[in-house]
Symmetry: C2
Subunit: 211 residues, 2 copies
């Protein structure tokens, strides 16, 4: 009898796990839909109803899966993180020379700016929001740390391939590339055709200088 009871408990626990997984999957699905609209309109102009309208659901769902709007957007930020901090890792791993790494990095950089401008302006938007809204800070700071590490992996590998070491700190390197990217993104969104090539030139010139 004790054994049967245990089995029932186990089965119930398994059911619970499955439900949790389903619940989480839908949360992520909703977060992804939200990211679309956020990338289009920005944090300030995005409402739950607008998000719902660009998705397969109605506005009420969000309060079934999220405690409130902030909870939803925090979930968006966390989900965004997972996608974005490994963007350049393949290039880092496969490149066998400085030139190869440079070209791979630049190609990905240009493609990102070209195709994912909306997602990245959202990132800058949310990072600014974190300066006002404490609830975002923890996640934003963590993403920032991961991005810094990502840049550092590139720089380290680049230096290694030349038998050198990066000449500045991870923080300074990240600041440099992030600043350049941010500025290029703004210009690109302002329909400045020179934004991408100028960013590439700048990075191409900079890489041998700093590593």
């Amino acid at each position: 009898m004790a054994r049967r009871a245990t089995a029932a408990v186990r089965r119930e626990a398994a059911v619970e796990v499955v439900r949790d997984e389903k619940f989480n999957a839908r949360r992520i699905e909703l977060a992804e839909a939200a990211l679309e609209t956020l990338g289009e309109l920005g944090f300030a102009r995005t409402s739950l109803r607008e998000i719902a309208q660009n998705s397969a659901f109605t506005h009420g769902v969000f309060h079934y899966y999220f405690s409130d709007k902030l909870d939803l957007i925090c979930c968006c930020v966390r989900h965004y993180k997972a996608k974005c901090v490994t963007r350049y890792d393949e290039v880092v791993v496969t490149a066998t020379s400085r030139d190869e790494l440079t070209e791979g990095f630049l190609a990905k950089l240009a493609a990102t700016l070209q195709n994912e401008a909306r997602m990245h302006r959202l990132w800058y938007d949310l990072r600014s929001q974190a300066m006002f809204e404490a609830a975002f800070r923890k996640d934003v700071l963590e993403i920032d740390k991961n991005l810094e590490a990502m840049i550092w992996r590139i720089a380290s590998r680049y230096a290694e391939l030349g038998g050198k070491r990066p000449v500045s700190s991870p923080a300074a390197l990240y600041a440099l590339f992030d600043g350049l990217f941010q500025s290029a993104l703004l210009k690109h969104l302002a329909a400045d055709k020179t934004a991408i090539p100028e960013l590439l030139d700048e990075v191409r010139r900079l890489l041998p200088t700093v590593c």
Copy 2:
């Protein structure tokens, strides 16, 4: 008679000018009040009524002096610009040695981060908004250009005092310092006591490297 008519026209024109000046002065006064609230709450959460409540006026005034909310905020951005792009110029002019320039620059940097954090997070907020709202782009890009020039003046002077030339472009230098400042600001607002000293250390180490 022609002369009297001319005199009347002139007087009227003078009156007009005075009125315009008064009108403009009040516009700036209102923009300044708006900047206070914007710095406190951020773009997303700031309403005209909130701005009015933190000022000596009522919410209706803003439509007497501005065509709409965007017009007001554009005016805020432009007014902000005027105040902020000359922050380090005195140090640049008066410093007679590299050390003096370094210490003056670092002191102002620390003071800015400490005392004007709210105004600067607003700047980063509005710069992000410009990625979504085309109406902001022209002014934001212009401010960015001015800030880049400001950094360049510091770097040039620093290099000059050492008989050198800056080793990187104005764009890269600005990206570097702006990125570092932005990151330090976020950490500072997240109550990270090490943010300011670490920024100062980083800049102190970096200056001789880049100029």
